[in-house]
């Protein structure tokens, strides 16, 4: 296993990407409840409303934020000649993701604990 | 014979995938000989041609010294229409003078004329040369050349040439046997019939039959302790051919390069001096003023190396052992060094921790180039004796060959040229030979078994207490060659060396390897390479001992003058039945009208 920041970013990106795809499928199915009317929709939402799922949502948020900022990083590399700063770019994307995850996750956590 | 699966047949087999071998294969296949196999003990791109840094000679007339700044002034491109300063004639004269008149002038003429075309051909094939402002190939000065005619690609010229040529050969569909080692040559009744080779990956021995065999196996600097040569440059081809009964020519002429990295021997390209670097002794003096006041650091290599060695011997060397000299490039400036000599800078940084931009770099003379080798004519055809009779179907070019364009001393950048030009010419000659209806000769003897026996012997443990590690023998040989057959030689030293080589040969009979396996056995390879070193070192020492004069790279402290009366001739060494070399001599091809021998002064 050849370890490096590049490798870590690659694994995280893949992992979050695939997780998001799986979530997307579930998400479409849940919301798709609306096809059979408001009842089904609210039932399926109820199912997701449990505190456990709420906390899992923080993971989801982390995944989406990291994946997005890593994606932005790749787009920057594609359009600008910045390969020299590859390590800093990764750290930047990672740190920003962590901060935003905390910022976004805290309200969710509080809400989950309340509810 | 011809019994088992371990026989491979090609029209042409080329041993060696450096510039010489690759050119030959590429040309032969382009000329319609489609069945060409090239074997190389290294992957082709690992060949030592790729290490050449400085350039390839050719009188293209692209640059000149700025008018009125003298011959050592800064260079500029020659404006279109202006007078040309260079010509093949001038290149020829420089080469002859550099060779100390031992070069064969007919071959030199062919080479320098072809030079211009071969450089353009390289460019057309895709080499990325450095450029003049108007887009022509850039040229720099090189030692012994009276005009700037070293065509270069930064300081990785050989690398660029080798990769380009290899790629062209691939394009032509040449089959490469990568990491196959030639062990023996099959010559019967003066007809070459093939080689015995080992596939490294399996350890399998194979008889390779062919209508024509070509050798381009490179140099043999590895017989010395300090050398610029790759670890694989063990002169296998030279030894193999000699063992098969073909003579070797001018083996005593081995060039020592003035600027090997101190204690490593790794080459600091001559381009360092070409771009204006100085040599300084312990006291900081530019001592070349004493030895070559005119050309200074750009005098030919043999002269500069001897000057350095004299300084060292007289106690003005540097370093722990006093064997070093300073190369001073600090006045060239960061920009020039980074642009023209980036690789050289990296080497010094990595291996001795010196940044040549700011500091003096320790260097010392290093065994570099073998002028001698397998005697061949200008078509690459190997000759069997002083009369020039050919060995049917055997060709050689490049550093392993002695077509004798370098005579007693090679000029820098002339050897990439030599390997390219005569590799190409061999290719044409081989194609003609095959298309002329050459038949596949039958092999009579059982060569494979004999070679196999050598390997089995190495792998079997000798009687207790007698066994010896081959590496130890190799080390002792290198020490001996350095001490007694180096830059300065004497009757006494050479006799000592000869005795030592014989002793080591005797000991090799009990040498053995630790690795008994078949797969990729580099231990066996190392032992065989050592055996080859021992074989041709004896020829070098014997030839040097016999030549009682100083000429070019061969410098005798007991015979300090050149002696045209007795020694204006090539040495030919045949292997006799008892294994010792028998020397005979062959005249030098000289145009007495145009290029009669003169004193060689710089």
């Amino acid at each position: 296993m050849y370890k490096s920041t590049g490798f870590i970013s690659f694994v995280l990106r893949r992992f979050t990407g695939v997780a998001l795809v799986l979530y997307l499928f579930m998400h479409i199915w849940v919301i798709g409840g609306a096809n059979s009317g408001a009842e089904t929709f609210n039932d399926r939402m109820e199912f997701l409303g449990s505190p456990l799922f709420r906390i899992a949502e923080i993971g989801l948020l982390a995944a989406v934020i990291y994946h997005a900022f890593d994606g932005i990083r790749l787009l920057i590399v594609h359009y600008f000649d910045v390969t020299e700063y590859r390590k800093s770019l990764f750290y930047a994307a990672f740190v920003v993701s962590v901060i935003l995850t905390i910022a976004g996750g805290l309200p969710i956590l509080l809400h989950a604990l309340e509810g | 014979m011809n019994k088992s699966a371990n026989v491979i047949t090609h029209d042409v087999i080329v041993v060696g995938a450096g510039l010489a071998g690759t050119w030959a294969a590429m040309i032969a296949s382009r000329e319609g000989v489609t069945d060409v196999g090239v074997l190389s003990k290294l992957h082709p791109l690992r060949s030592h041609s790729g290490a050449a840094q400085g350039g390839i000679a050719g009188a293209l007339n692209n640059v000149r010294p700025v008018p009125d700044t003298g011959p050592r002034g800064p260079l500029e491109q020659i404006p279109p229409g202006d007078d040309l300063i260079d010509s093949w004639e001038l290149h020829m004269f420089d080469t002859i003078k550099g060779s100390d008149w031992l070069g064969d002038q007919d071959a030199i003429e062919i080479m320098v004329k072809d030079a211009i075309d071969i450089v353009y051909t390289y460019e057309h094939m895709g080499c990325v040369f450095s450029r003049t402002p108007d887009g022509r190939i850039a040229q720099r000065r090189f030692g012994g050349h009276s005009a700037p005619r070293a065509n270069y690609a930064a300081d990785w010229t050989g690398h660029v040439l080798l990769h380009t040529t290899h790629e062209q050969a691939l394009k032509n569909g040449v089959k490469f046997y990568s990491e196959w080692v030639a062990l023996d040559l099959i010559v019967e009744d003066n007809v070459c019939k093939g080689v015995i080779a080992m596939e490294m990956q399996t350890g399998q021995l194979v008889t390779m039959r062919a209508k024509a065999v070509m050798f381009g196996t490179g140099g043999y600097g590895r017989a010395w302790k300090i050398t610029s040569n790759a670890i694989a440059n063990t002169g296998d081809g030279v030894a193999i051919v000699y063992n098969a009964g073909v003579p070797l020519m001018d083996m005593e002429f081995v060039q020592f390069h003035p600027t090997g990295l101190y204690q490593h021997g790794i080459l600091m390209s001559e381009a360092c001096r070409g771009e204006g670097g100085y040599l300084r002794n312990k006291d900081g003096d530019r001592f070349m003023e004493k030895y070559a006041p005119d050309k200074m650091e750009l005098a030919p290599r043999d002269l500069v190396s001897r000057s350095e060695q004299t300084e060292i011997d007289e106690g003005r060397g540097i370093g722990d052992d006093g064997q070093g000299i300073y190369l001073d490039m600090t006045h060239l400036g960061r920009e020039k060094i980074l642009e023209r000599l980036p690789q050289v800078r990296d080497i010094a940084l990595n291996f001795v921790g010196v940044d040549i931009i700011d500091d003096l770099c320790p260097i010392q003379p290093t065994a570099h180039y073998s002028m001698g080798g397998i005697p061949a004519n200008a078509n690459g055809q190997v000759i069997a004796n002083a009369a020039g009779d050919p060995v049917v179907g055997l060709y050689a070019a490049g550093e392993c060959a002695c077509i004798s364009v370098h005579g007693a001393n090679r000029l820098g950048t002339n050897s990439l040229l030599d390997a390219s030009v005569f590799g190409r010419r061999s290719g044409y000659a081989i194609a003609e030979f095959i298309k002329g209806g050459a038949a596949l000769p039958e092999i009579e003897g059982d060569h494979l078994t004999r070679t196999q026996a050598r390997i089995t012997r190495l792998k079997s443990d000798p009687a207790s207490g007698k066994g010896e590690n081959w590496a130890k023998i190799a080390r002792e040989l290198k020490q001996t060659m350095t001490d007694d057959c180096g830059i300065f030689r004497s009757d006494e030293g050479l006799r000592r060396a000869l005795q030592k080589v014989k002793e080591l040969q005797g000991r090799f009979a009990n040498a053995h390897v630790m690795d008994k396996s078949n797969r990729f056995n580099t231990d066996v390879l190392g032992a065989i390479e050592t055996e080859n070193l021992l074989t041709f070192s004896e020829v070098i020492v014997s030839s040097a001992l016999a030549r009682t004069e100083s000429r070019g790279a061969h410098s005798r402290t007991d015979h300090t003058k050149r002696d045209d009366e007795d020694w204006l001739k090539h040495t030919m060494a045949h292997k006799t039945d008892d294994g010792t070399p028998e020397l005979s001599y062959k005249g030098v091809n000289i145009d007495w009208e145009k290029y009669p021998p003169q004193e060689r002064k710089y």
Partner: protein
Amino acid sequence: MTNKKITVRIQRFNPDTDQKPYLQDFEVELAQGMTILDALHLIKEDLDGSVTFRRSCRHAICGSCAMNVNGQNMLVCETPLREKIDKNGQITIRPLPYLPIIKDLVVDRSSFWAQYQRVKPWLIPPDNVPEKEFRMSAEEVAALNDAEHCIMCGACYSACQVIALNKQYIGPHALLKAFLRVLDPRDADPRARLDDLDKGDGVYRCHTIFNCIDACPKGLNPTKAIETLRKLAMKRQAFEAARKERQKTLDKPVN
């Protein structure tokens, strides 16, 4: 200077006799200016002749000796032993990762060379070859310098995780070579090259992992070359036209 003993851990494996690779320790005395390759030679010549590795030029130009030292790919011939000793006085040498092992530190680079050949590494010259040289500007040469300097050592290739997953991927070394030919003003068919690179195993299989840059002992930048090729592949028609235009003046002075 007191001489220090170093433990060199070498990964051993002979597929004919061993079940799986294992590490073997050797003691070496650290000497002034010693490279990792020097240490390997000492071990081979004095301690165990069966330790197997490739090398030739010993100054970072032939590309034979790329290996994995303490987890990073590098040329052992140019790397001082001193620099790679960890705090336990150890150094660990393994073969290049992700490639089949032939023996000990020698790997099978077949797929590496196959990809190199796939990109047709040779120049495709235009029809109007001049009598003398093609004229190229210093900038045109400078653009090619990096790619031209690749020594085909494989350090980048064997550090790339995409290669670990899929040997059909062309790989950083061969894409760098392709870059060299595509950008060369003398090459007559950049279009066909870009068409090939545009396929599934070409430039888009690179996922910008950057290990190739980190691993390259020559300080080259395959990622940058790959990004450039991606952009060129998108506008290859225009690029082809520009090339045709440039080739009309290849025999003229550049300024």
